[in-house]
């Protein structure tokens, strides 16, 4: 057993463990943290496949930005977890049964040996260039059309989010940045001359 295979099993174990924890942990914050573990293990596996760029992007974008955002959202929401999980134990045996049968079928049909993936492209195949170069070249030449289409899909996402959440309700207190900036000193503070008050606290004659 080579060291690469050992490393693969190590990372794969934690990836699967993290995925299981995501769906079984009671505390949503813990679940998000296990998702981070899954992503990190997957990034390590990609690193083993010599896809360094994708591995780093996964960590920077998903773990660094998306998951932190997720964590904020989960912490802000007041989720009652227990109610959503009531049926879980009841359905668990059936779920496990179905999953076991599916797994058995897959293993039987494919044979364990056939599941071995082709070896990663060696440096010679890649022409000695970093895989950022390869990804960039493929994205902007052969995959240009899908790349642009993906950009349009993101636009749809924005339009849908705005259409579903933006409400113009009357009587809502908005901040108007333009008016805030344009305000002049005399609008802000009004000096009123008042006669000085006689006496005060603890100044009894």
């Amino acid at each position: 057993m080579s060291i690469e295979l050992l490393a693969f099993y190590f990372f794969a174990f934690f990836a699967v463990l993290g995925a299981l924890l995501v769906i079984s942990l009671r505390n949503p914050v813990h679940a998000v943290l296990s998702l981070v573990l899954t992503f990190f293990s997957m990034a390590s596996i990609w690193m083993l496949l010599r896809a360094e760029f994708l591995a780093l992007v996964l960590i920077v974008v998903y773990v660094g930005a998306v998951m932190v955002l997720f964590l904020f959202v989960v912490m802000m929401l007041d989720i009652k977890v227990a109610a959503a999980r009531e049926g879980f134990i009841r359905y668990l045996p059936v779920g496990i049964g179905v999953a076991a049968v599916m797994l058995a079928e897959m293993v039987a049909l494919l044979g364990v040996r056939a599941m071995h993936v082709a070896p990663p492209p060696s440096a010679a195949v890649m022409g000695g260039q970093a895989n950022v170069v390869w990804i960039g070249r493929a994205l902007y030449t052969e995959y240009l059309l899908p790349f642009e289409l993906a950009a349009m899909i993101l636009t749809v996402g924005i339009v849908a989010a705005v259409a579903l959440t933006l409400r113009r309700r009357p009587g809502v207190r908005h901040q108007d940045a333009a008016r805030q900036v344009a305000v002049s000193a005399h609008e802000r503070v009004r000096l009123v001359s008042m006669p000085a008050e006689r006496g005060g606290n603890g100044a009894q004659p």
């Binding site: 049909l109 240009l144 899909i153 849908a160 705005v162 409400r167």
Partner: protein, 480 residues
């Protein structure tokens, strides 16, 4: 990328640019120009259709290194999708105005969905299929949820979204297996390398997952659970959209993936049986469960499931005649469902959806013309000769018999007879029941809706009598 590439995708490029302009127009023009949004969208559709026709002259060709296929089938499906979206805009316009739904977003999201459809039916690569499909479904989820104050619509959108995301995941998983077996994402490449692939069984696994994804998009049983809820829960204008153009996209996607020589065609013996099971299940559920429905939109949803069963029979045959028959069926279904939902939209007004079968009681006495149009749509959906729906059914059954699938054709014929019952019930309610006293049915006064709806329903008769040219066009689309 060359000029040739750009000329081939010109319709899509134009549509993309116009959507962006329309988005800005809607954001800055304000509520006074809502009607302008409608007419501008129609203009965009007309120009896109003209560009599709023009692009056909360049083809058949592939562009962007095989990502995009410009052939007769793509042209046919695109033109009818544009027609369907135009019908949706005309029929939905009074409804959106009365309900004060966000008309601007409705138009832009529907056009985005159309862009997804056009990319999907032209896809020459698994990546393009997936992205086109996501574009279509993402816009559809948002459209279903557009009526934010209705809990039913929100529930429907949620169900649609969760199940749709699951189906997309299955599809993607299957695609990754096929990629693992063949080492290529291009459909032509998959068709070429699959027969010699050492990982043949892996590809068969992939086919199972891909078929699950396709069946979900069709709404074929047992992947139909979302369909009745979405049809019933969403605003009728959106139901009309979901029931029309996306079905053409689904048949285009299925043909690109399974048939037409490339793609997964080498695995035909495997997927033929699976499709036959899906078809029989859809026919059974579609014809039996629809009988007990009292909601008209829900009944039409189950009828859709049944119709998708017929469409799958055509695909099952695996011949080019069968493929042409299923394209013909998809076009027929789209025109029939726009007519049926158009009548519901013509009767709906503020606070009254006209979506119960009981609501149509005595429609003939109130508005004989609308009742006649609805009867035409119902007879056509049921497959009564000489209407459009009859020829569609006849062609798929004929294709099944030619492919030695006599039992499948018999199942289809039996299902057609059972489903006749619930279509005729609508006709009976309209013509032989007396109108309810508490409610008066008032037909819409919107002139363009009345005229276009009449044309749509009469087209069912006209295309039934002169079905030849359309069938020739479908056959040309398949054989190239």
């Amino acid at each position: 990328m060359s000029w040739n590439d750009l000329i081939n995708v010109l319709p899509e490029l134009y549509l993309t640019g116009s959507i962006c302009v329309l988005l800005l127009f809607d954001a800055f023009a304000g509520a006074r120009y809502r009607n302008a949004m409608h007419w501008l969208s129609m203009l965009v559709l007309i120009v896109t259709a003209l560009l599709v026709v023009a692009a056909q002259r360049v083809g058949p060709a592939t562009a962007f290194s095989g990502m995009y296929i410009n052939d007769a089938l793509a042209g046919l499906l695109k033109l009818f999708s544009i027609l369907a979206v135009a019908l949706v805009f005309v029929f939905a316009s009074p409804y959106l105005r009365m309900r004060k739904l966000a008309a601007g977003e409705f138009h832009t999201l529907a056009l985005f969905a159309l862009l997804g459809i056009m990319m999907l039916v032209s896809a020459g690569n698994l990546v393009m299929i997936y992205l086109g499909l996501e574009m279509l479904t993402l816009s559809s989820y948002a459209l279903v949820a557009l009526d934010r104050d209705s809990p039913r619509a929100t529930e429907a959108a949620m169900k649609y979204f969760v199940l749709g995301a699951m189906a997309s995941g299955l599809l993607l998983y299957g695609m990754s297996m096929i990629y693992g077996a063949t080492g290529t994402l291009s459909l032509a490449g998959i068709g070429a390398t699959l027969p010699m692939s050492p990982h043949y069984m892996l590809a068969v696994f992939g086919v199972v997952f891909v078929l699950a994804g396709i069946a979900f998009k069709f709404g074929a049983a047992p992947f139909h659970m979302w369909l009745p809820d979405v049809y019933e829960g969403s605003p009728t204008a959106v139901t009309l959209f979901v029931a029309s153009a996306p079905k053409l996209a689904a048949v285009g996607m299925a043909l690109r993936l399974l048939d037409l020589g490339g793609g997964l065609h080498p695995l035909f013996p495997y997927w033929q049986d699976m499709l036959a099971v899906l078809a029989v299940a859809s026919l059974a559920i579609g014809s039996l469960v629809a009988i007990v429905q009292s909601n008209l939109k829900r009944m039409l949803a189950y009828s859709t499931i049944g119709h998708m069963g017929y469409l799958l029979i055509g695909l099952c045959a695996g011949t080019s005649f069968g493929a042409a028959a299923s394209v013909f069926y998809a076009i027929a279904y789209v025109l029939m469902s726009t007519a049926a939902f158009g009548v519901i939209l013509a009767l709906a007004r503020t606070g009254f959806e006209a979506d119960q079968i009981e609501d149509l009681r005595g429609l003939n006495q109130r508005s004989p013309w609308l009742a006649g149009l609805m009867a035409l749509a119902m007879f056509s959906l049921a497959g009564v000769p000489p209407l459009f729906g009859f020829w569609a059914k006849l062609l798929v059954l004929q294709a099944a018999i030619q492919a030695n699938l006599l039992w499948l054709a018999i199942v289809g014929a039996v299902a057609a007879i059972i489903s006749l019952f619930y279509y005729l019930r609508v006709v009976k309610v309209m013509y032989f029941d007396s109108p309810a006293e508490d409610r008066t049915l008032i037909a819409t006064s919107d002139a363009s809706l009345r005229w276009v709806l009449s044309l749509n329903a009469l087209a069912l008769l006209a295309l039934g009598v002169f079905q030849g040219p359309l069938l020739d066009w479908c056959l040309r689309g398949i054989t190239g």
